[in-house]
């Protein structure tokens, strides 16, 4: 099995008056695990359904390995799909669900009539092949013992496996998944996440995965395409999406804990927030007003006096592997500022200090992201660096 590459060019979709997809351009590499991530209503499911051929597009082209697939019906597109509700046939057993796509593709209408297997040895032979393939599908998915059950008698995880098995039955080259884990509880979701990654590695085919869960997207994908309002805001590796978001909306949407935002003023490369000067130099950034965003774990507690700002602590949350501190950011013109620390760092900080007082915070090197009024990231590479004289001072020490 080998995956196909998918080339989406200027794709548009309009329902009556509302434009659901606006000129989507996306290249999905062969064998890639690409996730479409976005809030509900952003058009990610619509894009998937256009790929599958369930709905016609208004404009644009979709090429699969260079071949235009738009005129093809869903069954001829060499794709498989796992639906959010799994869409198993409720009146068929697991065996029936797995066999149906094979029966439809391998047998003609006449050969599928009841009794055809009794009359024709060829039909018997094909049916035998289908039974063998069903057994091969069921075995690695752990469904062999469940083959005679109806979907209603299965747990959520088992149903999900049947849906995957049915999708794999016809050896597709592209695998589409529409929020396949959203109906499961958290623990099972973790397990099946690993199973899907494993399936992708084993088969090597192209996966297009739709989710609104940003942690799922970051954990599973080769690349993530973040969508908003029918547009792709950014398509990049999970690392880039997280560390270098192109758009403020991407920065806000990605990350388990909300990113910290504050209004910043840049004058001759020097940055200040609400009049408080920061230890930052952003040479090359034109003077003006920006929004400065920093991930919570890239804010550090700085004890040596070279902090960027010091803020009063509102609340401290201990979650086992980390400590979350919520500070009041009114002083720097922001709302709540969240800081995440490793517990051992927090323990060190705690000594000789009581909660409720101010803590001095510094922005980690290269962690400050600047966005202009339209929400686009402006901090051009190279990354904003510490003030030159500070570096010099460190050398002197």
């Amino acid at each position: 099995m080998a995956g196909h590459s998918i080339d989406i060019r200027d794709l548009e979709k309009r329902f009556d008056r509302t434009q659901v997809l606006k000129r989507i351009n996306l290249h999905i590499r062969e064998g890639e695990f690409l996730t479409l991530l976005g809030p509900s209503g952003c058009g990610k499911s619509t894009l998937l359904r256009l790929l599958a051929g369930f709905e016609p597009c208004t404009a644009g082209r979709i090429l699969m390995d260079g071949r235009d697939i738009l005129p093809l019906p869903p069954k001829a597109r060499d794709i498989a799909m796992v639906f959010q509700s799994y869409a198993l046939y409720p009146h068929m057993t697991v065996r029936g669900n797995l066999a149906v796509p094979l029966e439809m593709s391998r047998l003609t209408f006449l050969q599928r009539l009841p009794g055809a297997a009794l009359l024709s040895p060829r039909v018997r032979c094909i049916r035998k092949g289908i039974a063998g393939r069903v057994a091969d599908l069921a075995e690695p998915l752990g469904l062999t013992a469940l083959l005679d059950r109806k979907p209603a008698q299965l747990s959520g995880g088992q149903r999900q496996r049947v849906a995957v098995g049915r999708a794999m039955a016809r050896h597709p080259s592209v695998f589409l998944m529409d929020e396949p884990l959203s109906n499961l509880d958290a623990k099972l979701r973790q397990d099946l996440r690993a199973e899907i990654i494993d399936l992708h590695r084993r088969t090597g085919i192209t996966f297009v995965y739709v989710t609104h869960d940003q942690s799922e997207a970051l954990a599973m994908s080769d690349r993530v395409a973040v969508m908003e309002d029918g547009e792709i805001r950014q398509c990049a590796t999970p690392h880039e999406i997280y560390d270098r978001p192109d758009h403020l909306s991407v920065a806000r949407f990605v990350g388990a804990t909300a990113i910290n935002e504050m209004p910043a003023t840049v004058r001759l490369g020097a940055v200040s927030v609400n009049g408080v000067p920061l230890q930052l130099n952003v040479a090359g950034l034109p003077d003006g007003e920006y929004r400065l965003a920093v991930r919570p774990e890239r804010l550090h507690v700085v004890d040596d006096g070279r902090h960027d700002f010091s803020l009063p602590v509102d609340q401290i949350e201990f979650t086992g592997n980390e400590v979350g501190i919520r500070c009041n950011g009114a002083q720097i013109g922001a709302g709540t500022i969240r800081v995440q620390l490793r517990p051992e760092n927090f323990a060190r900080l705690r000594q000789g200090r009581a909660a409720g007082e101010r803590i001095p915070l510094g922005i980690a090197e290269g962690a400050a992201l600047f966005f202009d009024a339209s929400g686009r990231r402006v901090s051009a590479l190279p990354l904003p660096s510490r003030r030159v004289q500070e570096v010099r001072r460190e050398h002197a020490v």
Partner: protein
């Protein structure tokens, strides 16, 4: 009792409280229960009792004749004729109105904008008064003045008078029966089709079941099976109750060719005033309808097969 512990006494108190609760519940439900007895159960009993007498409507005296009415009924050729006509009528009307409605429902389910329009159009006959519409139908199917007569004449064919010929009269009534029933069945099937989610349809399209017949055979029909059983039994009951069209159009004629059970009950009881005999017919009718209802309940309970 005095030597027993407090818990026992507590239990007793609880039990008496439960009893009084049950009594209270019975008191509250009594009006509804009495109304049900007075309007449904009692009349049925009265009918069964009268069927064992030779009571004539309007008389003050009656004699108990035992099973006399029933033996007379079994040897009455008009009873067997009415039963036969009812069966033929049902055998024509039910399959056409059920499968026709299924076919229409599958077609309508695929429509988006025109669906509402067609639903209303097909449902109109259900809301119309059958007695009044029977007169319209008698004009439509009339052998001399109706549009059908003009059509046949225009094609150079001999005229067909539906309600003058015995066999044709029954077919004519069946056409009206189908027309009246199909809209109701259609709405029920459309409700049943909502079980089939759009994701299920998309999955079936992906798996190769995108033709009309393939989808009907593998997806729509099996999933509609429970609905179909209910609709089938309801249609049987409906068809067996045919009365309005018979009373308005044929009066059971010509020569008893369209005599139906309900119409015969009406004629014997209220025209010929033989209330005892009519009651025996009614009991037979109740037993038949009751059988259909039991069938529906029994099949309905089995429908939880997926």
């Amino acid at each position: 009792m005095n030597t027993r512990s407090d818990t026992r006494a507590g239990n007793d108190a609880l039990r008496s409280a439960a009893v009084s609760y049950a009594t209270l519940a019975r008191v509250f439900s009594a009006p509804a229960f009495l109304l049900l007895v007075a309007t449904v159960v009692a009349p049925v009993f009265v009918v069964v009792l009268i069927s064992f007498t030779d009571y004539r409507l309007g008389r003050l005296t009656l004699n108990v004749v035992g099973l006399g009415n029933y033996t007379r009924l079994l040897s009455d050729p008009f009873f067997w004729g009415a039963l036969r006509n009812c069966a033929i009528y049902t055998a024509i009307v039910v399959p056409i109105s059920v499968f026709g409605a299924l076919y229409l429902a599958v077609l309508l389910d695929a429509r988006r904008q025109s669906r509402r329009f067609y639903e209303i159009v097909f449902f109109l006959p259900v809301t119309s008064t059958l007695t009044a519409m029977s007169i319209v139908w008698s004009y439509l199917l009339n052998g001399h003045i109706g549009p059908l007569a003009h059509l046949l004449a225009g094609l150079g064919l001999p005229p067909v008078d539906f309600f003058a010929d015995g066999t044709l009269a029954l077919i004519g009534l069946s056409i009206i029966g189908v027309w009246h029933l199909i809209g109701f069945n259609l709405i029920l099937f459309l409700a049943g089709l909502t079980v089939i989610s759009s994701e299920l349809k998309e999955a079936s399209a992906l798996d190769g079941m995108d033709g009309f017949w393939d989808r009907l055979r593998y997806l729509t029909w099996p999933l509609l099976a429970p609905t179909t059983i209910v609709i089938f039994v309801l249609s049987c009951i409906q068809a067996f109750q045919v009365f309005d069209t018979v009373a308005v159009l044929t009066n059971g004629g010509p020569y008893g060719a369209t005599e139906m059970l309900l119409h015969k009950i009406n004629t014997d009881t209220f025209t010929a005033l033989k209330a005892g005999y009519g009651s025996a017919l009614t009991v037979v009718y109740l037993v038949l309808i009751g059988t259909f209802s039991l069938l529906q309940v029994w099949l309905g309970n089995r429908k939880a097969h997926f």
